[in-house]
Amino acid sequence: MSTFSIGRKATSFICLIAGIVLTIVGLGMSIAGTGNVYRGAMLVCGIILFFIGLYLFPTLKHHRSIINFIFLFPLLFAFLVTVIIPLFLGIGYSFTDWDGIRLKGFVGFSNYARMFKQPAFLWSTLLTFLFVVFNMILVNLVAFLLALLCTSKIKGLGFFRAAYFLPNLIGGIVLGYIWQFIFSNVVTKFTGTYSMLSDTNTAFIAIIIVYIWQYAGYIMLIYITGLNTIPGDVLEASAIDGANKMQTLFNIKLPMIAPTITICTFLTLTSAFKQFDVNLALTNGKGSVQFFGNYIANGTEMLALNIYTTAVINNDYALGQAKAVLFFIILAIVSIVQVRVSNKREVEL
């Protein structure tokens, strides 16, 4: 019994064969290095034809599997090529003397040893941890207070929520420069000639201020959602039992939004740790500081920016890559610990 027309069978086989031939020829030209400008187009057309042929393949039994494969392929292929392969390559490169283009040999852990001898890198790591801790606490605190404000009975709630969220729409580069203007031209009108960005300590505070400004409105929205899930009768019952506002807040609201707190701490932690754009645009890492007897010129440079500067600006790719691997490991450990601790606390509450 034939459920497939001759035409479909023929199209399928022609597409499959043409696809395979084009792919092989395209690849062959690439390997042979003929420099033919059409080799890429041939390769792409070949792969597409192959998929069309596969789709039309006259089978009932395996059709579902073929569709599964075709549906998964585009995203999975992009994911493998852009994330998984570079990840493993990157881990490998961090043990070599890779210069961004070629590598001569393995150097073991010497890149890792080298970065711990750089006072600037150690300072940068310390600074990043400080930044993450300050941000996690301050952003969550500000956001939670704003959420309390925006769930109480005041006029124009919709406007306030939208206004507080607005800075989050804007990319870190642009808002970094807007704030650079404010700190160096507007704030100086009130503080005299002294600019917050010229001193390492105050520049660090400036980065935190900008970050809270950008991020608190977003975290606030999540807290509002959390607060709105608390059933009204619970709050009413506590009011009848005579609980005051503070008691309601600490004994009812906070425990009931524990899952929201977990989400928000996770978001603030990972995003603060990876902070790059604002750091680049606001101070570009500049700021002098004394650190264990060493003079450091990049006193406000956090890890993400340090990695970028090491590899892209100073052209030390192997060292930059080793730092990036360490960065990844720290981030993974910190996130896992945070989620574990929060889950435990959630259960206790």
Binding site: V83, P86, Y93, Y177
Partner: protein, 289 residues
């Protein structure tokens, strides 16, 4: 409520809310007024309206918009093209992959799913350097430029945005009754027809969510395009254009501020139009992601 709230506390809260709103919106106000001034007015009184005029604003914008280091229309076009194509492909391929992963409980689909979830923690920094060298080598090998090109960066966004997109879509598809698909299959629908005619239209709300999340990220992203497109490449996105522009006009605020204004206006307009959807999308994404 059990007790009537005192008017005084409501007024105090309203005042606090207004003060915070003023603080949050003040930078935008400063940006706007100082974009319409000449340098001397910007430095002498940045906070007051004196010296700011609409004609000066238009003049400053005119000077910036065609600057060879900024090329507003061209960078805006590239940003829009990259964002839109990436979003369409991410939603389509993401939904296809999420559907297959969700509806096939095999070892492979589980492995793929958990690899996606685990990969969400990978910071861009750890893959960016090998990514660039791989893309350069592959581009040379097959003769299609992967760096400094729109297809290359769209492909990268497909890879980096895929994990979160699949994760959120997968959570939604789990809630779609399987009976629908069985009924369709009994009625003679092939699997691909079932997906495109029955499942995909049902995904509209969650596709909106992932589109907003991915859109905000891709539109504002700086590091990935700066690595892949470069500062002096043929293609510039808005954040790259701003960075390059500031580098060429150090501290010339009468040029930088109008450029920054131009860069944020499209996003603000979009927010005014689709405010509710954007805010809800961001919350959904955070709570599920």
């Amino acid at each position: 409520m059990h007790t009537k709230e005192k008017t005084s506390s409501v007024v105090i809260r309203l005042i606090i809310a207004i003060i915070v709103a003023v603080y949050v919106l003040f930078p935008f106000f400063l940006l706007l007024i100082n974009s319409g001034k000449v340098t001397s007015d910007i430095t002498s009184n940045p906070v007051s309206l004196s010296g700011a005029s609409l004609s000066q604003l238009l003049e400053n914008i005119k000077a910036v918009i065609n600057d060879p280091n900024f090329l507003f229309w061209s960078s805006f076009g590239s940003s829009a093209l990259i964002t839109v194509v990436s979003l369409v492909l991410l939603s389509l391929f993401g939904a296809m992959a999420a559907w297959v992963i969700c509806r096939n409980k095999t070892v492979w689909s589980t492995v793929i799913y958990f690899t996606f979830i685990a990969s969400m923690i990978i910071p861009f920094q750890v893959v960016m350097l090998p990514l660039i060298s791989t893309f350069r080598d592959v581009g040379k090998f097959i003769g299609i430029s992967m760096l400094q090109s729109v297809p290359g960066i769209v492909f990268a966004y497909l890879g980096f945005g895929g994990a979160m997109t699949v994760f959120i879509l997968n959570g939604f598809i789990k809630g779609v009754p399987y009976d629908l698909e069985e009924a369709a299959s009994i009625d003679g629908c092939s699997p691909e027809q079932t997906f495109f005619q029955i499942i995909f239209p049902l995904l509209t709300p969650v596709i909106t969510t992932v589109t907003i999340l991915n859109g905000m990220w891709i539109w504002n992203d700086y590091l990935l395009p700066s690595m892949m497109l470069g500062q002096n490449g043929k293609v510039m996105t808005i954040p790259i254009a701003i960075q390059k522009f500031v580098g060429s006009y150090v501290k010339s605020w009468d040029r930088i501020l109008p450029a920054a204004l131009l860069a944020i206006v499209p996003m603000i307009i979009l927010f005014l139009i689709a405010q509710r959807q954007i805010m809800e999308g961001m919350i959904e994404g955070a709570v599920k992601g």
